[in-house]
C-alpha cells in the first residue's frame, strides 16, 4: 500500500536531521522521532482497532470458547464448564440436520444470488435508458429492500398458503395447476418458496448498486464504440461489463454475505420446517441455543457459519487488493 512508500520517502528526508539530534537522546526526542517517521498513523487507527477488538474480537473469541465447552441447561450457571475440545463439532457434523442446513444455506445463497443479480442487472440497464418516469419507478422498486424483513416474510407466508394463498388461486385461475400446491408443507417446495421470497427482497439492492455503477461509465466511450460499429450486445459484453467489474465484484460478494446469513425470513416463514428441512445455518444455530438449550452446539454451528464467511471475505479482500495493484 501507499503508506509504506510514504514512510520510505519520509525516512530518506528526515534521517540526516535526526542523526544530529540523536546524540541528545532524551526520551521525548525518541518519541517525537518515532512519530515523525510516519508511525503516527498507528495512533489514528487506535480507536478503530479498540472498537474492533472489543465489539468484534471479543464475541468471536468468547463464542469459540463456548463451542469447545459443554454448556447446556444444567451447566449454564456452573462455575467450571467442562472442556470437550472439538466434540461439539464432531456431534454436529454427524447430525443430519446440520448437513442439510449447510446444503440448504449454499443452495439458498447461490440460487438467490444468481437470480437477484441477473434481474437486478437487467433492471439497472432498463432504467439507465432514461425514459420518462425512469427515476420515480426505480425509486418505487426500492420498496422491497426497505420493508422490514418480518413483514415481507409474513406476506409471503400468506401468499404461499395452500388454501387461501394468492399464488395458488392465481395459478389455478390460469389453469396452470389443478389442485392447490402445498408450498410450505413439502420440504422441496418450502425451500423454493423461501428462495423466491428472498430473490424478491434482494433485487433492489443489486439494481441500485449496478445502476450507480452504470452512471460512472462515460457516454463518450459507449458512443465511440457505437461509431466503430459495435452492436448493443458487443458494447454490453466488452465495454459495460469490464468497466463495471469492481462494482460487480462488490455486489456479488456483499450479496453472498448478506444472503448467507439470512435469518428472519426463514424464521418467520417456515421456522426451519416442515420436518427441519429448510433450516439454514443461522436458524439451526438459533434453535440449538434457544429452543433446545444446547448453547455449545449452537455456538459451534455459528462458528461454522463464521468460518465460511471468513473464507469468502478473505477472497473478497484479495480481489480488491489485486485490483488495486493492477491499477
Amino acid at each position: 500500500m501507499s503508506l509504506s512508500r510514504e514512510r520510505a520517502t519520509q525516512k530518506r528526508l528526515a534521517l540526516p536531521r535526526i542523526a544530529g539530534r540523536d546524540r541528545a537522546g532524551t526520551r521525548m526526542n525518541r518519541l517525537r522521532r518515532y512519530f515523525r517517521h510516519g508511525n503516527i498513523g498507528y495512533l489514528f487507527v487506535l480507536p478503530a482497532i479498540t472498537y474492533m477488538v472489543l465489539l468484534v474480537g471479543y464475541p468471536i473469541v468468547s463464542n469459540f470458547i463456548l463451542s469447545i465447552q459443554d454448556v447446556t441447561v444444567t451447566t449454564l450457571n456452573a462455575l467450571g464448564k467442562p472442556l470437550v475440545g472439538l466434540r461439539n463439532y464432531q456431534t454436529l457434523l454427524a447430525d443430519g440436520v446440520l448437513q442439510r442446513s449447510i446444503g440448504n444455506t449454499f443452495l439458498f445463497t447461490v440460487c438467490c444470488i444468481v437470480f437477484q443479480f441477473a434481474i437486478g442487472f437487467a433492471l439497472a440497464l432498463l432504467f439507465n435508458m432514461g425514459f420518462p418516469l425512469a427515476k420515480p419507478i426505480r425509486g418505487l422498486l426500492m420498496i422491497p429492500w426497505m420493508i422490514p424483513m418480518t413483514v415481507t416474510a409474513l406476506m409471503f407466508k400468506f401468499m404461499f398458503s395452500s388454501n387461501v394463498g394468492i399464488i395458488n388461486q392465481f395459478l389455478q385461475a390460469c389453469g396452470i395447476i389443478k389442485s392447490p400446491v402445498e408450498w410450505l408443507l413439502e420440504p422441496r417446495s418450502a425451500m423454493f418458496s423461501l428462495i423466491v421470497a428472498n430473490i424478491w427482497i434482494g433485487i433492489p439492492f443489486n439494481m441500485i448498486l449496478l445502476s450507480t455503477g452504470l452512471t460512472t461509465i462515460p457516454n463518450h466511450v459507449k458512443e465511440a464504440a457505437a461509431m466503430d460499429g459495435a452492436s448493443k450486445w458487443q458494447s454490453f459484453l466488452f465495454i459495460i461489463v469490464p468497466m463495471l467489474k469492481p462494482v460487480i465484484e462488490s455486489v456479488l460478494i456483499l450479496g453472498f454475505i448478506y444472503t448467507f446469513k439470512v435469518f428472519d425470513l426463514v424464521f418467520v416463514m417456515t421456522n426451519g420446517g416442515p420436518v427441519n428441512s429448510t433450516h439454514l445455518l443461522s436458524t439451526y444455530s438459533y434453535k440449538l441455543s434457544f429452543v433446545l438449550f444446547k448453547y455449545s452446539q449452537g455456538a459451534a454451528t455459528a462458528n461454522i457459519l463464521f468460518l465460511i464467511l471468513l473464507a469468502v471475505s478473505i477472497f473478497y479482500l484479495k480481489f480488491i487488493y489485486d485490483d488495486r495493484r493492477a491499477e
Binding site: 447446556t72 441447561v73 388454501n163 408443507l185 416442515p274 420436518v275 438449550f293
Partner: protein, 403 residues
C-alpha cells in the same frame, strides 16, 4: 405568556418525576415477566398487581410482557447476563429446565410452614419441583378437550366421537368442500407436542415412550386423519390460536383446544353453535395439563416475591381472577367453587381428572422436539409412523440415559 406556561409545565413535570422516583425508592420493586398475549389476561394481571400494591406499602409489583416466542430466549440470556426478573410466569414443563439452569430459588424451606400448600393439586405442584425441591408454585391450570360445531355434526348425522375410530369416521363425514372435519395445532414446537401428547398418552404410553406399538398407533392416528383428507396438512403451521380462528370461521367441524379460548370465542362468534366434550379415548382417557407456574428467581428479593405469591394464592383473591383467565385453579378448595353454572367450563374441569403434566425433565425441550418432529414426519409423510417412532425413541433414549 405561552412560553412561561410551557416552561412551568415542564418544571412541574420534572418535579413530579423526581419526587415520585424518590417515593418509589423507599419501596422494593418486584418485576414479573409473563407472555400472555390477550388483552383480557393483561388487564386481569394488572388488576391483581394493583390489589397487591395497595394492600401494603413495602413492595411495588410491576409486570413486563415478553412474547411467548422470545420468552425462553430472554430468560436464558438474562441468566447469562444476570438481568432477570424477580418472578417469571412460565409454561409448566419448562420449570424443571430453568430450575436446573439455576435461575430459580429453592423455596421449599420457606414454604414448609405454609398450610395452603396442601390444597394444591399434585400434577401442577410436581411441575414446580426439581429433585423433590420446590422452585415456585402453580399459577393455574388448563387442559385440552374436543370442541365441535353442533350444526355441522347434525348435518352429517354424526354424534361427538368417543373413541379414536369414531373420531376418524366423524371427521371424515364432516369433511366437505372447504370444511375439514378435524384440526389440532401440530406445529413443530412445544405447542405441537402439547396437543400430540393427548394421543401419545391416550395410547397408554408415558412422555418418554414412543417407539413401541402404542406410539406407532398414536402417530398412525394423525397420519390417517391427514391421509383421508379429514385434517388439513396445514395444521403443521397452525398455532392453537389459528386453529380456533379456523373453527369459528366455519372451516373446521371439530378441534382440540383449551379453555382459554372460550372467552374469545363467545365474544367473536356469538352466533356459532358449538359445544365441548371430553377427548376421544384411545386406550385410556388422557389430556395434556397446561398452565403456568410462578417461578421465584434467585436473588435478594425472594422474600418479597413469596409475599406476593402468598397474596395471589389466597383463596379469596384467587377467586377474583382465575375465571377471567379461563383457567382452572390449582387449589382444590377454589377449583371446587368454579364454573358451577358454566356447562362448557365444567367439561374442562372434568377433563382435568385425566390431565397429566409433561415431563418433568431438565432436558424436556429436547424430548419435546423429538416428539413433535416425529408427529410432523408422520403428518407430512416424510417418514412412516414406524420409522418416525423408532427415530424419536432413539433420540429420547440418548437424552434420558446421559446425565
Amino acid at each position: 405568556m405561552k412560553r412561561f406556561l410551557v416552561s412551568a409545565l415542564v418544571i412541574f413535570a420534572m418535579l413530579a418525576v423526581v419526587t415520585s422516583g424518590a417515593f418509589a425508592q423507599s419501596k422494593k420493586t418486584v418485576t414479573i415477566w409473563n407472555y400472555w398475549e390477550t388483552p383480557k389476561h393483561q388487564e386481569t394481571l394488572a388488576r391483581v398487581c394493583k390489589d397487591f400494591n395497595s394492600s401494603q406499602d413495602k413492595i411495588e409489583v410491576v409486570t413486563k410482557y415478553i412474547p411467548f416466542a422470545d420468552f425462553k430466549k430472554q430468560l436464558s440470556i438474562g441468566a447469562a447476563a444476570s438481568e432477570l426478573p424477580d418472578i417469571a410466569i412460565i409454561d409448566n414443563p419448562d420449570h424443571a429446565s430453568y430450575s436446573a439452569m439455576g435461575i430459580f430459588a429453592d423455596i421449599t424451606d420457606k414454604l414448609a410452614s405454609w398450610p395452603d400448600l396442601k390444597q394444591y393439586f399434585e400434577g401442577p405442584l410436581n411441575s414446580c419441583k426439581l429433585n423433590g425441591r420446590l422452585h415456585g408454585i402453580p399459577f393455574g391450570s388448563n387442559c385440552l378437550s374436543l370442541y365441535y360445531n353442533e350444526d355441522m355434526l347434525k348435518a352429517a348425522g354424526a354424534k361427538p366421537p368417543k373413541t379414536w375410530d369414531e373420531l376418524k369416521s366423524v371427521a371424515l363425514k364432516t369433511t366437505k368442500g372447504n370444511v375439514h372435519g378435524f384440526g389440532i395445532s401440530s406445529v413443530q414446537n412445544e405447542e405441537g407436542t402439547f396437543g400430540f401428547l393427548c394421543f401419545l398418552w391416550g395410547s397408554g404410553n408415558t412422555s418418554f415412550q414412543i417407539g413401541n406399538a402404542n406410539g406407532i398407533r398414536a402417530l398412525s392416528l394423525v397420519r390417517d386423519l391427514v391421509k383421508s383428507g379429514a385434517m388439513p396438512k396445514e395444521v403443521i403451521n397452525w398455532t392453537q390460536g389459528d386453529v380456533m380462528n379456523q373453527f369459528i370461521s366455519g372451516n373446521l367441524a371439530m378441534m382440540v383446544n383449551g379453555p382459554w379460548q372460550v372467552p374469545t370465542m363467545r365474544q367473536q362468534a356469538p352466533n356459532l353453535k358449538w359445544n365441548v366434550v371430553l377427548l376421544p379415548v384411545g386406550a385410556i382417557p388422557a389430556s395434556d395439563l397446561g398452565g403456568e407456574n410462578f417461578g421465584v428467581v434467585k436473588g435478594d428479593k425472594v422474600d418479597e416475591a413469596i409475599a406476593f405469591l402468598k397474596f395471589v394464592a389466597n383463596p379469596a383473591e384467587m377467586k377474583t381472577y382465575i375465571n377471567d383467565f379461563g383457567y382452572i385453579a390449582s387449589r382444590r378448595d377454589v377449583a371446587a367453587t368454579q364454573f358451577t353454572d358454566d356447562p362448557i367450563m365444567k367439561v374442562f374441569a372434568a377433563q382435568m381428572a385425566s390431565a397429566k403434566p409433561r415431563g418433568p425433565h431438565p432436558r424436556w425441550p429436547e424430548i419435546s422436539d423429538a416428539l413433535s418432529l416425529a408427529m410432523n414426519e408422520a403428518i407430512t409423510g416424510v417418514a412412516t409412523p414406524e420409522a418416525a417412532a423408532a427415530k424419536a425413541q432413539k433420540t429420547i433414549d440418548t437424552i434420558i440415559n446421559t446425565k
